[in-house]
Subunit: 246 residues, 2 copies
DNA sequence: ACATATTTGTTCGTATGTATC
DNA sequence: CGATACATACGAACAAATATG
């Protein structure tokens, strides 16, 4: 283990155990090897392994039972589909018992350069920004911001509060159908604010997607930036040119 | 700053500075605020800021000049396009002066469950695995493994050594055209082995893609798992159903 | 050329957290 | 549980390089 790296050894071990779990390494029994075995495997002291396990137990990844052993708490990564016709709400349906969206804030601002480019508006044109948090079975999985042309959708904030879904809002506002034009994906360390919102531990990884949705004639509808808790979700991109189904 | 989190404060600061840079915060002058100003902003000691800056300078993100200040070394994220007709080599062409692929190893193994499912083979069927590292302008950007049906492409390892590109290999082997069926994207902390291969610092983030390519009739050709250095690349997903161009 | 302010570089000391034994 | 070594973080002071007027 590297010292002087700014990451304590117990956290490096915790990350490696987490990856081993998500690689399916202990799937047969659901039990982790003993502390001594793990200490040998990672070439560290048993206490260090214990710190790592304590952190993972605290996150809800592991469950420790005195005298019996340490066990994996089953919670696989949700698969979030992305494709030409992806709808946020539908995407996760069936993978979790309860899906919940919480509207954090609605803002009306002049568009900065990035938002303007994505929506094909002038920089400074008024846009509405919805800030939302999404939960699956009570666990936060993503934090999103959605921008809309304020000229065209001035009251989408109120509507969202009522309907709780972007697709529903757009439908109500006369947008029968739309498609996703592009998606940009990147990965980062979580900012302190996100750590709090998504209930992550320091140094956690977020998957960030920036997407543009447009009507069938190409008119831009929505620009969104979503940060996912990387250890709770993965993106499933479908490249097949599927037939429409409205 | 969270203490006792297993991530040292200087590294948390380094990550936040990195994100501020990639958010374009200091784009006007290219100069960072002074150490004292940063210390105030992040509520830490100047030494802690200095450690963060030293780490970023060591990574090549910043350049420090005594008496003058600290400056951003311009190096934007490469955009790696992913779409139905993505080709690895073409994807980055034009964004870097020199692209290089190094073949680390070629293995012939029985397929594990995951590889078999992706390639639509029986578990245990012989497959060839190419392990490669990719560099842009001498900087490592990704580490990949590509699996092929060993029955169909027994000598693809030697061929790759000669041609240096999967597309070229497949073309030589009589595969005129192929498309990407699906891509799965996830983000993780880098494993120690990857830290070494991609020359990353501890705690670094990797973007992982798992993709399946198939012939036009749906026959599976290739399964690949690629790990990108997240701070050097982003994925650009195109959902438009583009016309073919061979 | 000069004095002064600003910015980075260095060296003390001290306290706390981390990892091993 | 302590004993020990090392890394991390803070604070203060001073040195060296650069910028400004």
């Amino acid at each position: 283990m590297e010292r002087r790296s700014g990451i304590s050894v117990w956290r490096q071990i915790a990350d490696r155990i987490r990856m081993a779990i998500s690689a399916g390494e202990f799937d047969d029994t659901g039990a982790l090897p003993g502390e001594m075995a793990l200490a040998r495997r990672f070439q560290v002291n048993r206490h260090t392994v214990r710190s790592a396990i304590a952190a993972l137990a605290n996150e809800g990844v592991l469950r420790v039972e005195q005298g019996r052993g340490t066990f994996i708490v089953r919670r696989s990564r949700l698969k979030y589909p992305i494709g030409r016709r992806t709808r946020f709400t539908e995407g996760l349906a069936g993978q979790a018992r309860a899906l919940e969206a919480r509207l954090k804030a609605v803002q009306r601002n002049p568009a900065d350069a990035e938002v303007a480019r994505a929506l094909e508006l002038e920089t400074g044109a008024p846009v509405i920004c919805l800030e939302t948090l999404h939960y699956a079975d009570g666990i936060p999985v993503s934090s999103a911001r959605n921008w809309f042309d304020a000229e065209r959708f001035p009251d989408i904030g109120d509507l969202y509060r009522e309907l709780g879904s972007v697709t529903a809002c757009l439908k109500r506002l006369g947008v029968a159908d739309y498609v996703r034009i592009s998606t940009r994906v990147s990965a980062h360390h979580a900012e302190p604010e996100l750590l709090d919102e998504l209930n992550l531990s320091a140094g956690a990884v977020v998957l960030k997607t920036e997407g543009v949705n447009a009507e069938m004639d190409g008119r831009r509808l929505e620009y969104s930036v979503t940060c996912f808790a990387a250890d709770r979700i993965e993106l499933d991109i479908d490249h097949t040119a599927r037939q429409f189904s409205n």
